[in-house]
């Protein structure tokens, strides 16, 4: 059984039918990427998983447990945490406070302190700036903070929504290195990306989303070689 299962999910914004029967699975320890053009429904898929948007139809399960009936904070508690699109850190809280909010659903102070150290090891720059308010960080640092904050929940599945968006190439590389490192350490990741080339390089499997529907599902390697994908998303003719 897959760790995360999404089965035939339909989601709406008012009358807008944003997801038209999306199905996908993520296995333990995998990186699965969801690629697609702007407005395809990638963020909407992540929002329905984390409960911020309730699907009108379909099932979402984490290790066999239903998530659709859960409220967003319970879903975090069950082990799904999200790095929202556009690195939305809490700008007026300090770096450390941001990370502590990330651990909001947990109660063991010792384990939290350990994870805090781990995040600081992963992002030494954040440690230097731990008492600085997050609004004063650069874009790259804020993205690191957003990832660190999501890790503080010690998730079973980490949802990343376009972590490379708007970052300089050198920082995009840095972010993807972090993603690979998390993968090596066994974190399960569902990665949404516009940068399909990069995403397909790190991922095990991928799904291509088009106007709210999955049009392709394959291993990352096959997708990278697929003619349609190359033309549409990798900018290669």
């Amino acid at each position: 059984m897959a760790l995360l299962e999404i089965i035939d999910v339909h989601a709406y914004y008012g009358h807008i039918h944003a997801l038209k029967g999306v199905s996908l699975t993520v296995d333990e320890g995998e990186i699965v990427t969801l690629i697609g053009a702007n407005g395809a429904g990638k963020s909407t898929t992540l929002k329905t998983i984390s409960g911020l948007l309730r699907p009108r139809h379909g099932a979402i399960r984490l290790a066999g447990e239903d998530l659709v009936a859960c409220r967003p904070h319970d879903i975090v508690k069950k082990g799904v945490s999200q790095v929202p699109e556009g690195r939305q850190v809490f700008t007026r809280l300090t770096v450390q406070e941001n990370l502590e909010v990330g651990a909001f659903t947990r109660s063991d102070p010792r384990a939290i302190a350990e994870d805090l150290e781990q995040v600081y090891t992963l992002f030494p720059r954040l440690k230097e700036r731990r008492n600085q308010v997050a609004g004063t960080l650069s874009g790259g640092e804020q993205q690191m903070l957003a990832i660190g904050r999501a890790l503080m929940a010690r998730p079973r599945v980490l949802l990343l929504d376009e972590p490379s968006m708007g970052l300089a190439p050198v920082l995009v590389d840095a972010i993807f290195e972090v993603i690979e490192r998390l993968h090596r350490e066994g974190t399960t990741i569902l990665l949404v990306e516009q940068n399909a080339l990069k995403a397909l390089q790190v991922a095990d499997r991928g799904y291509v989303l088009q106007t709210g529907q999955v049009v392709l599902a394959d291993t990352a390697e096959h997708l990278r070689l697929n003619e349609d994908v190359r033309r549409a998303y990798l900018g290669i003719t």
Partner: protein, 572 residues
Amino acid sequence: MGERFRAALRPAVVVGLVGGVMALLLSLVGMVNAFAGRPIITGVLSMGHTLLFLTALVTGMIAARRVLHASRGAGRPVALPGAALAGLASGFPLAVLVLVGQVVNLRAVLQNANPVLYGLLTFGRDPGAGLPQLVLAGALVGSLGGALTLLPGRVSQAVVAGLGTMLLTGLFAELLQGILWDLGVPAATTRLFMVQKGLTVAGALVTGAAGALVQAVWASQTPKVRRRLDALPPERRRRVNVALAAVGLAIVLWLPQVLGSFLSYVLVLVGLYVLMGLGLNLEVGWAGLLDLGFVAFFAIGAYTLAILTSPETGWLALTFWQALPVAVLVALIAGVILGVPVLGIRGDYLAIATLGFGEIVRLLVGSDWLRPLTGGSQGIAHIPRPVLGNIALIGPQQIYYLVVAGCIIVWFVATRLRNSRLGRAWMAMREDEDVAQAMGINLVQTKLLAYGLGAGFAGVAGAIFAAMIGSVFPHSFQLIISINVLALIIVGGMGSIPGVFVGALFLVAMPELLREFTEYRLFMYGGLLIAMMLLRPQGLWPEPTVRLELAESEEPEVPARVTAATSPGQGD
């Protein structure tokens, strides 16, 4: 050359005229008249004139800065003349008013444009002699303002501190005389410095010099002392802190003995507003939930105490101490009840909804429907005084201790909350509700706790208020209380705990001590809030992080260097 100077001086004239219009406004709303009766230096300077001079002073300061700015350094030699010019210009609108007033009777339209005002503006002479004097005084004060801008920061801070001290001692000379008398200072000594309601010239010089000196010493010594404190081992530093806190507490506890009944009453009011301010600060400053109906919880705390303790209602006739926790609990529950319907409402709509709640509570307690319980518009009287041991806390001098105890407890709770998991959840929610939710924060629970705890704090204030006054009436719980509390946390610094104390002292004690202000209270609030937003948006005593943020944002960012160093494992 001349052309350049003229270009540099143009902004000065504009600023001066704007300042003049301000002065005109202050005169026409009647503030100059109202404050003329309050001397700063007896026989020499009244508060009414001081208002005009302060306007000219600020005008001069702004003008000097504008001139410097407009001419990019070239204006430095004309900055001082520019400030003088601005001060001069600021006198003109007033002069025009007086001249027009000689020919036309403006009183029919502008109630305060009367001979008394003209007399003040001309220093009691005829316009021919008085008006040149007024304009010249403007120029003089304007150039002082300019000098303050041009002088090095330390010097001008000392001068401002000196003038401020002189002004405050002059303003409160009458109260100070009483205090000195109570302290056993011989009247003959006091009379050297203060006569009637103001300072003597000698007194003005001495207080001004003292203020300047204290500021100068403070500015030069504070960094050294701080560095020395920081160098101390933590154990010793803790002891220093405890000692300082003990001294502070001793002074606070000793105050009512010297201040007498009236000033103690003022401090009690300040304390009640601190209690409410800490509660509203929790809702608005931390959780980001705007609440314009905060008076409701103050009222509920007061009425609950009244109903439970007064023999009039014939209910339980509990003692104050038995009823207090119930009053706080009822206020807390009321907070939660208010929270439920407004859970999904954000921003402006929340302001309107909560505003309505405040009014509903006031109308309900005054309604015929609840008359058996709340006494309708008659209210409830004969609320027994709190008894501690076998001392009845009767006057403000005794209630004061109750308020201080309340403030200390609530302050302690607020400080703990600020750094708790819940406190961080509030602040995360304030920043972004959706992201907070995605971090696993239960919005419903977190919001209701903010409303409930904030309301509980106000309930403490309400209960003490009821016990102090001995009766409660619906009209004691007007919208203005909500506005006061909100204004004081804005002025003190949104989200800042010490800011609540500073804001309450500033906005509650000041108007209470300057009775002439009462009529202009809202006018002053408006002016003060606009000035705060322009000059010091972070508040008088902001939270450390806010201070940091504003300081940081003034520095240019260097993202390239900063971020390149961020990437882990970049070397491979």
